[in-house]
Symmetry: C2
Subunit: 324 residues, 2 copies
């Protein structure tokens, strides 16, 4: 297997924690419902590959996300390993009750940086949704759980266009002030570019929120996810969301190039000499296995490239003609 | 059409010249031969979209690149516009004669940073290939032409693995010393990561070759091309090679995710507030038109995403479910 030559870039974090979202963010956007035993095996394989934070499912009402209606059963089936966390999405107190019953250590709530998306996704204003999450976060923290807050539409919004940086910081701070332990900044429609990322992280810093409390969640809709990740690493962020094989993302983009693929992220981190703990070959094999079950190829460049690699290269075979 | 919010990143070039390689590097790797009138229209459309450097074809012997056997006829047909350059690849003095006859302003020669690829691609050692290009460059310069030098395998080589930075600098300097006006550093197999890019550009600088004489040519085989481009921009490089629609690349990778897609590059440059002169909508339309002629979709994320965009978004339509 080809691997990048390791060459660190000064000023980057020494270690990055990958927050794997494939089983939840990936599979919730699948047109077909994946059997619970396949989900459980997927998660077990991701843990085998070295991932230590694997967002497992969502306790959102099955009416909204039928793909994850088996959340309770999945959590029962999961063979939980020491050192691995399996966060679940929780929309309200009833969801929290189910999560507590399932014995999770980390929940995730989800807000929107824009009123348009808050109304459409949560059927509430931004302020109402933060108020709704207040008791969820308080009770979860009292129960000793960690609480991640997702913030959607941090860069652009399909209805509102570019989202002002100060507006994102304001909503993000209110989520952290509820008691959330981590804030994941989502480029839900994938329009961000590296200068925008740098500017948003700078603004959070000025508002007293350092990169140690932030994660980034980029979508590759316009091919920018990894360049944006580099900009975030340069700003000190050390938690990066990604999805094995690039599963999932925004279903309104038929091309299904949604989430940053974990494999593409791992390739870059390895080359940068940043510790991530993931076995790339095992991870790519897992994504190929999942792609077979879903009946279509992974959009991850790395997964595709590793599948195309000849086992042994013949002496005559020329990988590229003439130049390039 | 969605567009990124413009947010400059300090320290980057104000303007980037895109060296469009689709008609040459893209089409030379196509399994089928594209009719010469389609090639001519492709190049005209690229110029319409605002590209000012469009590598048109190659005067390599048709035995090696039958896809471009119509180089002379294509150059005859080309309606050349003021302010647009149409470089052609030239392998030897005979190729130069043909290029001079066709009235080109810029030629490109091509060397290898590794002995393995020099032997396979040029059937010569690195030293022999540089010696062969000597009279080509001298005569071209005497005729008032600009000469670009491509250098392949600048980061990794399928036979030799990681390529030492000093070796790349040494071969690159010898090509520039021949009289070449620009050196394009190629990550032919797509294995580079941003730290490696930064290190190579730093080493060139220490050897007296500043970023003003350098271009970068990244392949997206492992999804790294745009992150690497960002690192190159941060090191001061202001000439970037890319291919409309992501055409071409390395045919040994069946997935055909070869060259960095010009559209993905343009998206990032626009967001960074860097002047590039390209009309993205026209360019993406050209790539879709070409993809129809080739019978398969463009691998460019931006081309795919723009094709998926609804003309008008309904009020109820939710682009992303629940979170992300």
């Amino acid at each position: 297997m080809n691997l990048p030559h390791v060459q660190p870039l000064p000023g980057l974090p020494q270690r990055v924690r990958i927050h794997e979202v494939g089983p939840r963010d990936g599979l919730q956007n699948e047109p077909n419902i994946v059997p619970v035993e396949v989900k459980a095996e997927f998660i077990a394989r991701l843990a085998d590959a070295g991932l230590t934070t694997i967002e497992a499912t969502s306790f959102v009402h099955p009416k909204w996300v039928p793909q994850l209606a088996d959340a309770g059963e999945l959590m029962d089936r999961l063979e939980r390993r020491p050192g691995v966390r399996y966060p679940v999405l929780v929309p309200n107190e009833r969801g929290l009750d189910r999560a507590l019953q399932a014995g999770v250590e980390t929940i995730a709530i989800f807000g929107s940086a824009t009123e348009s998306f808050a109304r459409r996704n949560l059927n509430r204003t931004v302020a109402e949704s933060i108020a709704m999450f207040g008791p969820v976060v308080r009770r979860a923290r009292e129960a000793g759980l960690e609480v991640r807050a997702y913030l959607s539409m941090c860069f652009g919004d399909p209805w509102e266009g570019a989202v002002p940086v100060n507006q994102v910081v304001s909503v993000g701070r209110r989520l952290l002030d509820l008691g959330c332990t981590e804030l994941s900044l989502g480029d839900t429609i994938g329009v961000a570019t590296p200068g925008h990322v740098t500017e948003l992280l700078r603004a959070f810093g000025e508002a007293g929120v350092g990169p140690d409390r932030l994660a980034v969640h980029f979508h590759d809709t316009y091919g920018q996810a990894l360049a944006n990740t580099l900009a975030a690493l340069q700003a000190g962020v050390a938690t990066v969301d990604s999805s094995a094989g690039g599963l999932g993302g925004c279903p309104y983009a038929k091309s299904a190039t949604g989430n940053l693929a974990t494999e593409d992220l791992v390739w870059m981190l390895t080359g940068l000499g940043i510790d991530h703990g993931v076995d790339l070959a095992k991870l790519a094999a897992t994504s190929r296995w999942m792609a077979e079950r879903l009946g279509r190829p992974s959009p991850s460049r790395v997964v595709q490239a590793l599948a195309d690699e000849p086992e042994a290269r013949s002496d005559k075979e020329c990988p590229c003609s003439t130049t390039g």
